[in-house]
Symmetry: C2
Subunit: 244 residues, 2 copies
Amino acid sequence: MNQITEQMLNHTSIRKYTDEPITQEQVDTIVQCAQMASTSSHFQAYSIIEVRDPAKREVLKECSGGQKWTVTAPLVLLFCADLHRSGKYFDGIDKDVLTNTECYTVAVIDAALAAQNAFTATESMGLGGVIVGGIRNDVQKLIDTFQLPEQVAPLFALCLGHPDDNPGLKPRLPQAIVHKIDTYTEDGNDEMMEEYNARVKDYYTERTRGKNTNTWSQQCGQLMMAKTRDEVGFVLRKNGFLGR
Amino acid sequence: MNQITEQMLNHTSIRKYTDEPITQEQVDTIVQCAQMASTSSHFQAYSIIEVRDPAKREVLKECSGGQKWTVTAPLVLLFCADLHRSGKYFDGIDKDVLTNTECYTVAVIDAALAAQNAFTATESMGLGGVIVGGIRNDVQKLIDTFQLPEQVAPLFALCLGHPDDNPGLKPRLPQAIVHKIDTYTEDGNDEMMEEYNARVKDYYTERTRGKNTNTWSQQCGQLMMAKTRDEVGFVLRKNGFLGR
């Protein structure tokens, strides 16, 4: 265990922040760290929009179904998959290529790798935050609000600030379910899942003082079915992604 | 600057490794750190396959167009988007929902966030590595080789080991092109891109002793058009992703 792995193993989402601002120097370092993440073929197929405008913060809140930390966090970074820049600046590009599934995959991976670096850098400064993917409830509204051109897709908002909360660690899936050797096997998964579901039920029960007694299977099933976001595909296709 | 941001700002891809193995304890910590990354609605929609079998390492090499570090790296982790587990264990799931663009996006983001944590954790141990997305040249072969069930998609291989190389830092895009405030503007991009292209040309020229004198625009255009991977979409759709 070292300082970095210790920090990672103690990661938890922070949704309440003190009034202390994040300095411009910190913001610059966070973005620099994001940019130093690995990127597919050095394409760097993402953009980061820092959301300062209170009216646009309200849009994020509205799109995310009322997640108020999109408004209250001192720093909010909207990560976007960006193939628009590729279309504009890559020499000899057949723009139709950018509409394929591979290019969307590249851009989403690039954006997420950068975001996780940004997040880890932020935590190393004693700050904390949460990733809000719920803004994808209304992708079209985000495209309009942030004036995203064709082939730029809003993915999630990283909300950051000085922690005013300590929600404790959330239990992850048993390692043996996630980490396999050489082959995708499912041996023993049912038993491990039963144990994990009981552990998550205890976690929610304790954290909500009995208001939520869901297992992992129940919680995830409810969340996924509550917002299926079927229109994400429609809007992204309209905006030049995933044509094939 | 602290230890973590300093490490990130000095990140570079390592493709040559000493013979020193990565210990099982290190592997476990790396995977634990991956698992502690943020995840959409706690879905944890990814799986990690550690590739030990030399024959399967050869498949990775073949699929990636001969990237030999997929064979020579002491540790290779294949990151997969995984909605199969969601379909199996989420209560009350309409499996058709899992075929939408939103769910694919969730799973790719989850996998990449976890991978970047794994990578950063590895680097904190004095190790290094490289992410190989080139394996997506033959997604079907990967699905067959690792026996991936429906709704599991191979994304990239993280190749890790003790560094036997120091390739130096690769210049990233000007921060002002990637980092915008409140609105997606392109003001000044052409000028910044011109300066950046010159800088990248110098980087490649020096690094390859004049064999490659590409600008960023040239290099990226050539790489993207050389392997358009149009079949990724076809194979993923066949495997239960991105139906709509």
